[in-house]
Symmetry: D2
Subunit: 304 residues, 4 copies
């Protein structure tokens, strides 16, 4: 039988950057400090293709995914990104004609959260992993990314001051100095923020600690179970910490610099945030990418 | 050549309720009072299939859509739902073995909106149309649905009172009677509301008037362009009209009863609303379906 | 503190059909014959609201979900639909003003599949559950739905005969009687089929058996790992069993009648299928809803 | 009233890479050779933010979009990407503190297609535009991207040879030399391919010509209206030109090099393709990015 993939392509010879499979869904079991978590993950994997070959051996990719992920049901993986690294290495081992491999995985992740111990509930977050492996001269280089996403709440500091100003004119008898301290109405909304760290293969970061940074960067975290008094408390908390998307990104970066002193200075940090504005039909977004050592030198003299 | 569709199916004979095509994308031009609108519509069409036939002649469906929709570029249709009716009639005419036809179309729709005349902007809404045609004893019966959806804002009346109560204790010197009138902080969020009217083929309803009802039922409409003072105004408006999703649904139904006295009492009204809660990661929804004459008798003694 | 939800609404009194929460994401652990499965489920829950109340106590819903679903991590639930039933009962117990409760849940589900024992891989399906509970005169009535969805492949029987006819003219020397048996080219594509059973609360149906029906109704199931020869085998299998969407729906219904003799004749069966046509940019769909006893009498004399 | 955006941020000073609005929906009218097209576009716009400012003036963005896009209803724009360039320039003009602006727009696009002149139908494609403007030392630099996406069909060359081999054993009397020319069964599926060109602001490329390249790179284009004989024709065409995703990417690149001799050699070309495999539940993807002059030198000696 002809091995059509291994044949030379008839069109002009062109090496291709990425060939692989995407939209693969798998249960992925990861071991966290507290317990094992079964995630429903979405995965894509790619290798490059030399100009001498017509096609990539894609059935190997599916087999590697079965071997690396299906088995986590019995032998859990340490993390989403560790799974990506393992797959990337295996891709290069099994596609001997390839020089580069790329793996991306993402999954929903649940952790127990509550405004008080008797209001605990499993709430949804997202985890992202990526790995890039490349080989040249027999040397293998592997990098990976660890990403987390959490939904919380932002309250706008600008509309708050506009409303305070308007209402202090409308209610002059209330407009004392204390009135300036009164949490004031503004628009507030769902905010979805993501923090990603790009590091060497050997560096380990606990995703839960990154999610803590995300929730602290927003005006307030949100919760599934809120009794009447709790609702008021979350609203008050958010209005006492009004934040633009710009503030959220700055907080993501600054908190990362503070909380992860053990990470190498070369770590790349990507902070992204999106507020699904209540007063607009569109979203407001901010994003910044920086190297950790630069953020650390910046963090000197932090006042907020 | 064998006509495989017209052959008898080999499995036990079963008439089928719906066979057709879905996910068809088309530009649909409709004539509104002000101007023509070109919509990017998503369409699905179905007819039933008698037990004597193996398959439905689906290429006729695609041809009917080309004839009925592509031609609106030259000859605009009066509305999304009128297009659905036309297609449903044509489906029965061209599938002579069928007794029932169903058509659904939906599209984004833009209309100029602004908090003031110098802040106008085209903002996005959704239009929905449906038509059902059935024939028995040579008689054709056609019904249709007209649906609209708009995004606005809701502010929660409950958390507002909780916060007022908490803050009146924390700021006792402000807690005068006037303090009770002060718009108070609460959670506010995007609200997506939909209003649908099911009527006979001959009844016409202007979708823009239905969208006005949707935007009036929410705590406040939202706008693309809001200068600083405008933002405060929208926030104030919403906080002066705090609404649960339950309130939004009641308002949708009541306003429909008030604003459309010309509609037959047999008109079915479906009101649906979804608030993308800022203090939760999930949404809050309410929905009710009623007949117009029942809503009209209810509306007596309306106080809000 | 005012209980704003329990206040009378100020607009005309209107009882509402459905008020609740949607888009709730939860890990749901279910016990299957083989092992426990952790699903990432999406849930929505509703109760009705009498005209005397302004709002529904939504925090109770979130609490019921935490109690009914979060706890499955420790004490697995028998199934998605059993979880829905439990929640529906609890909703009525905790919203004493409500007469009806509705719960919907859906989740991805993985099961091991392979074209041969050494090609096994976890593949993705979907499970759906619904429950409706209603009470009147102290009597509680509960119904539930069990739904499954699987992706497979269909090959078109019509284009196959057209191509055979064309090629028998082009290759007259091949066009012997045996040529008519040769599997012939046609368009083939992803098919997504869903089977739903509506039954009383006490009836139990194993979802895996329903998924077997889905995969048997398509031209061929599909697999993640296919070595070269396997690919050919799947292609051959599908072309030896070409099927319209109409055939798939008839097979879903007929196989259900055959395979589930233990189910009550009043069971409602909903069969839906969608082929993502390779020769069109749109999908082809068919759907039928029937009562089981009617399907059983139909199944007499089945020939396929 | 305090200008909160212009205040210094209280956290450590950090310039931010991107702040803006996303998910803005607008009707965008573009002038094509044949006629004007009204697209329903999705837009996002960003500028950078210096460390001295707390927030970006986002209401200006909404205003620029209203001025640049809403007005195309009266005065059509030449193209999606020209609209992006105009907006990017305006962003820098109106955010005097910014040095970089980025704009992305995408929209569905319909063009008349048919397997024959009496089978014409409007079919759906996608257009993408991007623009990046940056200023330093009073100099403005603008680059843009023009992207198109089209859905067609691929037939797998590998499974075809496997099936030929199997069937030549099963039908030895048919297995003559002519049997090797007989179009053979294989899996075929929807393919979604995208071609993007990155060029200087002044370079113009007709999107329709790029879409022609996309449809030629696939095994066959697909059509909405196919009568019985046409279906067979499309199936035959695709099976006479079986293509891996790797072949599609190579064809996209090679055809671009051939068809656009007028483009500067520095043009970057991005070719991406995704086949929604009929024999798998996942997709197969390939992608390559190259510079045009490199593709041109490669194209010498093309044989396919």
């Amino acid at each position: 039988m002809k091995d059509v993939h291994a044949m030379a392509p008839s069109v002009p010879r062109l090496a291709l950057g990425k060939v692989g499979i995407a939209g693969v869904r798998k249960p992925l079991v990861i071991q966290r400090p507290d317990r094992t978590h079964t995630l429903a993950a979405s995965i894509e994997v790619y290798v490059d293709l030399p100009e001498s070959r017509k096609g990539s051996d894609l059935s190997r990719n599916a087999q590697i995914l079965a071997e690396s992920i299906d088995t986590t049901v019995i032998q859990p993986s340490p993390s989403v990104e560790a799974t990506c690294v393992r797959i990337a290495r295996e891709l290069l081992a099994r596609h001997d004609y390839a020089h580069e491999a790329e793996v991306r995985a993402e999954a929903e992740y649940f952790r127990p959260r509550g405004i008080s111990p008797d209001r605990m509930s499993l709430e949804d977050y997202r985890l992202f992993g990526q790995a890039w492996a490349s080989r040249s001269n027999g040397q293998l280089k592997v990098r990976k990314a660890i990403g987390v996403e959490g939904v919380g709440m932002t309250a706008c500091p600008c509309a708050m001051e506009t409303c305070r100003s308007t209402l202090s004119r409308e209610f002059p008898e209330l407009a004392t100095s204390r009135f300036d301290d009164l949490p004031m109405i503004t628009h507030n909304q769902r905010n979805r923020s993501r923090l990603t760290l790009l590091v060497g293969e050997e560096v380990e970061v606990e995703a839960d600690r990154m999610l803590d940074v995300v929730e602290e960067a927003q005006s307030s975290p949100t919760f599934a179970i809120l009794k009447r008094g709790d609702e008021g408390q979350v609203v008050l908390n958010a209005h006492r910490r009004p934040r633009f998307v710009e503030d959220v990104v700055r907080a993501l970066l600054t908190l990362t610099a503070e909380r992860f002193p053990e990470l190498p200075g070369t770590t790349e940090v990507v902070a992204e945030t999106r507020s699904e504005e209540s007063i607009h039909k569109y979203d407001v977004r901010a994003e910044h990418r920086a190297v950790l050592q630069e953020l650390r030198s910046n963090a000197v003299g932090r006042v907020d």
